[in-house]
Symmetry: D2
Subunit: 374 residues, 4 copies
C-alpha cells in the first residue's frame, strides 16, 4: 500500500468520470456496513518452480454487513458477461436470491481452497452449519494471475481467508497490487483491485452504489480512459507488453448498494456494470471470465425466520431512481477499473515476468491534451 499510496486515484489526478458524485471514500465501503479485507502474498523471485513460487497472489473479501451474514442474508444477483471462469456460488444465488457468505476473490487455481476457507469461517461463526442447520453457499470469484504467479502452487490457504475476513474494515480500501489483485494484469499494465462509488441525490433517496473490481483484462491498445484511446496513444511506450500469457483475462465486479433491490433488481444492476467495463475499452475477450455480483444491504433475509411471510422493500422500478442506480453502477464500475490501473505498481513475478504500472505522467499528459482533466 505504501507504494500505491503515492500514486493518485483517478479523481485526485483531476479525472472525473461520469456525472454523479462519489461517496465520501469513493469506495464500495461507502455503502454502510460493507467491509473489505485483503491478504497479499508476495514471496520469492526468479524462475518458476511449480508448487514453490515465486508467489504473487492473495485473497480479497467483501462483507455486506457487520452481522452474522449466514443468519442475516442479503439479496443478491449475478450477471455473467463471459462465463470463461470458475466462480462458485452462482446457482444458489440465482435460485434463492441471497448471499450468506462473504464474497472472496482470488487467483483462479485457489478457488477450491478459498471455498474451503469460507466453509471454515461459516463453521466458526455458526457451529450448527451442516449439523442442525443447512450448509453454507460460499461465493468465490477468481481471475488468473498466471503471468506473475506460481498458480499451480495454490499459495492461498484456508488461514489466509480467515485472516482476510478478520482484517476486513470499512472506510478507505487499499487498491492496486493487494489481496486478490496482487498478480493481476489490466490492459497489459499492472492491474488489481480498484473501487469507486456514486451517491444519488436526496430526491432519489440518497442511495449509494459502490463497485469493487478485480481487474485483469484487456490488451494495451484497448485501454480507454474518459473516452480517450489512451492505449493506442501508448502503443509505442517502452517497454512493450511482454508476450501475453495464454489466458489473458478476467474481471470480477462486486456491486453494493443500500437501495432496496431484490434479486431481480440486482441482476438488472449487475448487467449495467458490463457497460461500465465497456467504457474502459473492454470487448469481453474470449479468455476473460467476466462476472458481476451485486448485493443490497437494504433487506435482511433471516436464516431462522418466524412466521410464514416476510415483508420486503423494493424500489419503484420506474422513473428517475432506477435509472440513477443504473448510471451509478456504470460510472462506479468504470472508475473502479481506472482506479485499479492508477493504483497498481510495477511488479516482477515468476520467471522475471514484469507488469509495468500504467505510466501516469504520460497518461495524464494524454488526458490533458484531450481536454478531459479538470
Amino acid at each position: 500500500m505504501a507504494l500505491s499510496a503515492r500514486r493518485p486515484r483517478a479523481r485526485e489526478a483531476g479525472l472525473v468520470l461520469g456525472t454523479l458524485s462519489p461517496g465520501p471514500h469513493n469506495a464500495i465501503t461507502d455503502v454502510a456496513g460493507v467491509r473489505v479485507g485483503h491478504v497479499t502474498l508476495i514471496a520469492g523471485e526468479g524462475p518458476l518452480v511449480p508448487g514453490r513460487g515465486p508467489v504473487r497472489t492473495g485473497v480479497t473479501v467483501i462483507l455486506p454487513h457487520e452481522g452474522n451474514l449466514f443468519r442475516q442474508k442479503v439479496p443478491a444477483g449475478i450477471f455473467v458477461l463471459n462465463g470463461f471462469g470458475k466462480c462458485l456460488g452462482q446457482e444458489q444465488i440465482d435460485e434463492l436470491g441471497v448471499i450468506e457468505s462473504p464474497i472472496a476473490l482470488t487467483g483462479t487455481m485457489n478457488v477450491g481452497v478459498v471455498a474451503d476457507g469460507l466453509v471454515a469461517h461459516a463453521i466458526r461463526t455458526n457451529p450448527d452449519v451442516g449439523i442442525t442447520t443447512s450448509t453454507v453457499n460460499p461465493v468465490v470469484g477468481e481471475c488468473s494471475d498466471a503471468y506473475l504467479n506460481d498458480m499451480q502452487g495454490r499459495h492461498v490457504r484456508q488461514e489466509h481467508v480467515l485472516e482476510a475476513i478478520a482484517a476486513a474494515r470499512p472506510g478507505p480500501v487499499a487498491e492496486g497490487c493487494v489481496g486478490a489483485g496482487t498478480g493481476m494484469s489490466l490492459f497489459g499494465f499492472k492491474g488489481g483491485i480498484g473501487t469507486a462509488s456514486r451517491r444519488l441525490p436526496a430526491l432519489l433517496g440518497g442511495y449509494t452504489v459502490g463497485a469493487l473490481v478485480l481487474g485483469n483484462f484487456g490488451r494495451r491498445e484497448q485501454l480507454t480512459i474518459a473516452g480517450v484511446p489512451v492505449g493506442r496513444e501508448l502503443a509505442h511506450w517502452q517497454p512493450p507488453v511482454d508476450p501475453e500469457p495464454p489466458e489473458t483475462g478476467s474481471v470480477m465486479v462486486i456491486l453494493a448498494t443500500d437501495a432496496p433491490l431484490l434479486d431481480r433488481g440486482l441482476r438488472r444492476l449487475a448487467r449495467r456494470a458490463a457497460l461500465g467495463l465497456a467504457r474502459t475499452g473492454s470487448i469481453a475477450g474470449h479468455g476473460s471470465g467476466d462476472y458481476i455480483i451485486a448485493f443490497s444491504t437494504a433487506n435482511r433475509i433471516p436464516h431462522d425466520p418466524n412466521g410464514l411471510v416476510l415483508t420486503l422493500r423494493h424500489i419503484v422500478e420506474d422513473g428517475a431512481l432506477i435509472d440513477g442506480l443504473f448510471q451509478a453502477a456504470v460510472e462506479a464500475t468504470e472508475e473502479a477499473v481506472i482506479n485499479a490501473l492508477f493504483a497498481a505498481t510495477t511488479m516482477v513475478g515468476r520467471d522475471g515476468h514484469v507488469r509495468h504500472a500504467l505510466p501516469l505522467d504520460e497518461t495524464l499528459a494524454i488526458l490533458q491534451r484531450a481536454g478531459v482533466l479538470r
Copy 2:
C-alpha cells in the same frame, strides 16, 4: 431517403470508430446474402387522433439469405440486455438455435400484426406450413415510436410486411428515418435505422460481421461519439429536447456474420453488441428494451433433413479469430448507432412533436476540437 442521403455517414465525415476495417458497403449487407427491406409509413400531421394518425412508423426486415429460410434455417442466438420489450421468437431461438423467418422490426404496438404478416409470408412461400409440416417461428423486434406516431393505430399492416420482404435487397442500406426507424428517437435527437460492418483480415478468415440497429434510446446528455461526450457539449443546444414521453427507449441490434458460429457462439457475439452500445453512452435505461439477435450464414440447418446426423462447422473458440469477431461486433454496433444519428433528419410527428436531427455542424466541430476526426 433523399434527405438523409445529403447527410454524410459517420465515416464519410471523417469519423473512424474502432480499428477494424469495414466491408464494402459498411453495412449488414456486407455479409453475403443478407438483404434488408424497409416500408416507411408517413401520413398526416397535427393533433393525435388515436387510431387515425398522424402516422410515423414502418417496418424493416432482415433476410439472412436469398433462399427459402424456412427450409434452410440459419443458426442464431439472442442476448437480452434489458428485457423491457415485446420481442417475439426468443424461446424457440434459444431452444432450437436457429431462425427460420425473416427478422422484422417495427413499432411496439405493431408486433402482433407484423408477426401475423410473417406468418402470411411463410404460408405463401411454404404452403405446407401448419398443414403437413410444422408451424413457423416469426421473429419480431420493436421499439416505441410513441412520441411521434399514433401507436394505437397500429398502422403497419400485413401487406406492409410482405412489401418490405419483397423490397429487401443487398448492397447499400437506407438509414435514418426509414422503415421501423421512421418514428424513433435517439439520445433526444431523431434516430432510426443505422448499419455498419467490419471485416477481419484474411489471416483470420476474412470473415465479416455486420450490424443493423433500430436506435431509439438514450438521453441527450448521454450521447458519446468516439469517446467524446458530445451530448453534454450540446446540453444547451437549442431547442432543448421536448419533454420525454413516458417510455423513452429501446434498441434492437441485428448482427450478421459469415463466420461459422452456432447458437452458443452467436449468443456470445450478441453479448458484445451491448458493449458497442455502451460506447455510444447507453446505460440500458429501465424503460429501454435492448435486444440483440445474431445469426450466421455459414451453416444451413435443413427443415427436411436426410439421415440422422448433420455435419456443422464452428470456429475454433480460442485465439485471435474469436476476439476479432467480438471486436467487430462491438465496433459495428457502435458505428451503426452513430450512423443512425447521422442519417436521421428532423421529423415532426403527432401533436406537433418534433425530434430534431443531430446538428451535424456542431457535432463535427466538437469532434474536430476533440481531435477525433480524421
Copy 3:
C-alpha cells in the same frame, strides 16, 4: 360444454391424484379473483381449404384479478421446459417480474392476431397506453391445432379476444374442447383445456394453487394416469391413433396462487409444474413447446406508484410452506391434464381427421383393476 358435462371429471370418477385437497371448484378460479373466459370456434367440415376451414380453434383468457391489470400488475414468472413454441411476453416478465395483460391461449398461428387483440383491449381499458404512458406487454401462449383445424386461416380475430375477456368469470371452468382447447390432441386422444387446484392447510396459510392447462402433447403409449400406464394398456384400442401430424405437441400451463410469491418464487413454482406433466407420461418431446406461466395475486405492483419504495410480501422460503406450494403445483398440474382428457369429446376436423375422446369406460376399468380408484 353440454357434451363434456356428461363426462365426469377425474375426481368425480373416483380418481384421487396426490394427497392435497382441491379448492371448492377444483379449478384455477379457486384463487380468489381469477377469471377464465373461452371463445370456441367450430365451423365447416370436410376437406381442408387453407384459409377457409374447417375451423376447430379458439381462444382462452385467464385474468389474474378483477381490476385493471395494466394499472395493478401482478408478479409472475415463466419456466420454459421446451421452447419449441411461440409464446409472446416472456422477456418482459423475466425482466420486470410482472404481468400486466390477460394471458391468452390460442392456436399457434393465431398468436399475432391474438396479441393484437390484447393490445386492443389494453387501449380500450387504458386510453393512455402508448400515448402518455408506456405500451403494454401482451402475453400469449399457443399450441398447434394443425391436425383438426385450418391453421393457416388464423380464424381467431381481435373481436374474439375481446369477447373471451368479456366472458371471463370466476367459478367452474369449462374444460375439454373449448376455447384454445377446441382443436387440441393429448396423448393421441382429444385434448384441450383442463383445470384443478390444491389448497394448503390453515397451518400453512391456507393458500391455494390453481392450474389451467392447454393440453396438446404426448403419444398414446405414454399416457399415465395415477401411475398406471393406461396408454400402454389401450395400445390396441380401436381405432388406432390417426397418423400423427408433423407437429405433435405442446402444452401451456398457467399456475395461479394467492400465496405471496414474487417473480423468483414464481419461477420456482413454475418449474414444479413440469414434474406434474411428467406424472402424466410427458417426456417433453422435441416438437412440444412446453411453457409454464405462474402468477400470484398477493402483491399488486402499481403502474402509477407514489414514492420511491414499495412494500412487498414474500413467503418464507424454508420449511413446510414452500414445499406445500411446490407439491400443490405438481398435483394441480397433473390433475388438470387428466381433467382435460376426461372432459374432451371426440372431434372430427379438417380432412375428416378424427381425435377420439379418451374411452372413459375402458380407462376407468383399467384404473379400477390397478386399484387406484376410490
Copy 4:
C-alpha cells in the same frame, strides 16, 4: 459392495421401468469410454465430534473418455432444476459448451477440497496448466450427507480424488453406499449411487444414454416406483423415518451419451432427466439442490486446435431420434434412482442416526400386488 451385491438391482427383481432396452451393464458405462470411480470413507461411530467423525462420506468421479480430457474436451450442458446447491463449473460449461475435467460428486462441504483435488489432477496430467496454457474448469457436484456424516470434518481429501480417478473403470458400477453416496438418504431410506442406461434401436443409430445419480432427496411418502405409491404404502413401516435433518435433499444426475449432441442439445437432454426424477415421486423440494449434467462423447473439442474452423457432428433434431434420446434420458434417470434405493443398505452414522435400507421384501410385495413386476 459385498452387502449391496446381495440386493438385486431393480431389473433383476423383475421391475421393468419404461419401454426401451438397457445397455449390457445397464449403467452409465454402457456409453463407450465412460468410467466411474469411487472412494468410500467410513470410520468411527457414536456421537458427532465435529471435525473428527463419525465419517460417512466419499467421492465419486465420472470420466467421459479414456484420453486426456483437458486436451480433448467433450460437449456438455447443464440443467438446474433447483439451484439450492454448490455445484462448481456451471458457468464455463454454459459459456464454452464443454467439460475438460472429470466430474466429481461428493458431500456438500467437501466441494472446495474436491475442486482442489481436480486441479491437482489436471496439473499432474497437464503440467502446463496455469503456466503456458489456460487453467482448468473443475466440475464438482454435491449433496448433503449431514444426517449420517460429520460434514464439518470435510473428510474427503485431495488424495481421495486422485485415488477415485485412478480407480475409475468401465463395466459394472458399484451402487448404493459407495463413493459420494456413502452418507446419502433417499425418500427417507438409505440412498446413494445408482445407474442405468438405455440403448436406441439400430434404426435410430443404436445410440446409448446412460445415467448415474447421486440420490439424496425426497420424503418417504413421496416414493413412487413404476407409478406405484410405494412410499404411502410403507407409511407405517417400522421404524419410522428419523426426524429429518434440516437440509433434506439434493440429487445430482450425470447423463452420458454417444449420440452426437452439442451443448444446446445436451441441455435439452438434461432437462428430460428432471422428468425421470418426477416419475420416482420428486417434487424438487426447496431444500433439494437438483442438478443434471449431460455430456456426449461423440465430438472431441481439442485444447490445441489447428486452423480456424472445426467440423462437428450433431443429430438431426427432428423425428424419432431425438425423442428416443429424450425418452432414454427419462427412463435411465428413473431407473438409476430406483437402483440406488435397491442397492443401498442400512447405515448407522453420527449420533447413532440410522438410515434404513428400503425394505425390499415389502417393496416387492407391494409391486407384485400392483401388477408391475414381471
